[in-house]
């Protein structure tokens, strides 16, 4: 059996580990456009911040490919999948044969064409090791940074650059920060926190035009900058599958075994859509845990196992300047809000199930809430008073507790 994986990140690693749980021998070829040993994408902001050194960037030890008997083709780009020949064509004309193929191509930054953008000299996206390296190389303590996009990536970039540059301004069209994962109150808390850390945030506004080192916003406001970072969103890399005739919506469409509509071609990670079970909608869940777990499931199935990936939900754990946020699920139904001195919590209950939550500041044991969402636990079996208080196992009925705590586990 010969496995080929396009991509070399979380989903790819998940697949390699998944394959190896089932098949210890089949050859695995990894095709990676980026020329690095598999690294943790989220660490790029920590890298520029200096919290992580280059040797700690790696997502798996340097011995990983060898231990898993993988052939890695670094710096090679797949340009075509030819399902009839079971072949992947690489840039430069080479091709690689596969029995089972995984597309784990991730996503790419989304850039809206804006007047004058082409003329901006120092512009970056913030998605890759190379992005981080070149960004890092071009800043000085006197740099004024403009970041377009107050989402996870833009703000992570802001955190990474903070204190290393003279000023940071973040602009977002939305009326609040982190609008995709927080509610108004949560956004407000984070905005204040970021501002306290010295980051300027401009909301409900966006760049109309660039003129060298000056951005003019819709509001007419002018923001001078030395460096521009565009982080308004990402788009899944679906082209390979689309062109090969596979079904694609916004992301690559797969069944619950992670197989695309093309036989023997699987897909996992940021390039795919998953069914968000907290609201029953197809979504692109561009999150690392999701990428890994989809990859693992895909790998197992490629190697002949039959396992489903069926507990996908959006979930985020992220911190800025020491203030931590954990969120999961979708925000609908009835909500319960708790505001503490340094914390904020909101639980969303729909149809007698916990479907989402937001926790800021006090995040301990949040995973118990996550499990309630993922397992679609019927709340009539749960002690609601305890549920609302804080995450705990006491809220479960005795037999469930016993099972969770391993009594009679033998």
């Amino acid at each position: 059996m010969k496995y080929v994986i396009i991509g070399n990140s979380a989903a790819a690693v998940g697949a390699i580990e998944g394959i190896r749980q089932v098949d210890k021998d089949g050859g695995i070829v990894v095709i990676s456009k980026e020329k690095y040993h598999t690294y943790s994408r989220p660490l790029i902001s920590y890298l520029i911040q200096g919290k992580v050194t280059e040797d700690k960037m790696y997502y798996r030890p340097l011995s990983f490919y060898e231990e898993n008997n993988c052939k890695v083709m670094l710096g090679e780009e797949a340009v075509r999948i030819i399902p009839d020949k079971k072949e992947v064509e690489l840039k430069g004309g080479k091709s690689v044969k596969y029995d089972k193929l995984l597309v784990a191509t991730g996503s790419k930054p989304f850039i809206v064409p804006t007047e004058g953008l082409d003329g901006v000299e120092n512009k970056f996206t913030f998605m890759s090791y190379d992005d981080a390296k070149s960004l890092e190389a071009s800043i000085t303590p006197d740099t004024r940074v403009l970041i377009v996009g107050a989402g996870l990536i833009g703000l992570k970039c802001a955190e990474g650059l903070n204190k290393k540059v003279k000023s940071i301004t973040v602009v977002d069209l939305a009326d609040r920060v982190l609008s995709s994962i927080l509610d108004e109150k949560g956004s407000e808390i984070m905005k204040k926190h970021l501002e306290n850390a010295g980051i300027e945030i401009i909301l409900s506004d966006s760049v109309k035009a660039y003129e060298k080192n000056m951005a003019t916003l819709n509001s007419g406001r002018k923001v001078p900058f030395d460096i521009l970072v565009i982080a308004i969103g990402v788009r899944p890399n679906v082209e390979l599958v689309k062109e090969a005739g596979g079904k694609v919506n916004r992301g690559i469409v797969t069944d619950e075994f992670q197989m695309t509509s093309i036989k023997d071609v699987y897909a996992a990670g940021d390039c795919t859509e998953s069914l968000d079970i907290s609201c029953n909608e197809q979504k692109i869940l561009a999150l690392l845990p999701n990428a890994y777990m989809q990859g693992e499931v895909a790998g197992k199935n490629m190697a002949g196992d039959k396992v489903k990936y069926e507990k996908a939900i959006p979930m985020n754990a992220i911190g800025f300047f020491g203030l931590h946020i954990i969120t999961a699920g979708s925000y609908r139904g009835e909500s319960y809000e708790f505001i503490g001195e340094n914390s904020y919590k909101r639980l969303f209950i729909n149809d007698n199930r916990l479907v989402g939550y937001i926790m800021i500041g006090e995040i301990n044991r949040a995973g118990i809430y996550t499990s309630l969402i993922k397992d679609k636990v019927d709340l009539s079996t749960i002690d609601m008073g305890l549920l609302l208080q804080k995450p705990n196992l006491m809220m479960f009925p005795k037999d469930v507790r016993k099972q969770k705590l391993g009594v009679g586990h033998r």
Partner: protein, 139 residues
């Protein structure tokens, strides 16, 4: 962990924090409000108590979700490489038992590693006065 026998005495938490503090003398480990964080949490309820620590899952969600690759399984023990951990706490988000906690500086995650680096027998097990916590291998 058997709630039938848990007395809610919290000794497991204190012994856990102690043995993982690196101090040799227990009073010193807790002197000057050092706030050592245990890897085990006692939940107290109405006449029910139990301690929760890592279940060393076969398919650890914390490991699968870890964004840096800091979590691995070594000889059946789910281990966090604190050098690699950046404290994003995706593991806290993922763990269905609430068994991963921030360390006392809040900069990295930590969890029960079965005292493998403290002599092998978990301190919570040896010091539980009522054998509510036992170490069993599960295959």
């Amino acid at each position: 962990m058997n709630e039938e026998w848990c007395l809610g005495c919290h000794l497991c938490e204190y012994f856990c924090a102690f043995v993982n503090s690196g101090e040799k003398y227990m009073p010193k480990a807790f002197a000057l409000n050092r706030q050592n964080v245990p890897n085990i949490t006692v939940e107290e309820g109405d006449r029910i108590n139990f301690a929760v620590n890592c279940r060393q899952c076969d398919e650890p969600l914390c490991k699968k979700g870890c964004i840096t690759g800091a979590i691995s399984v070594k000889d059946g023990v789910v281990t966090i490489d604190t050098e690699k951990c950046v404290g994003c706490f995706t593991c806290i988000l993922s763990c269905p038992y609430g068994a991963v906690v921030p360390n006392k500086e809040g900069k990295a995650a930590k969890k029960c590693e079965l005292c493998i680096s403290n002599g092998g027998i978990p301190a919570c097990v040896t010091n539980c006065p009522n054998r509510a916590i036992v170490l069993e291998e599960v295959y």
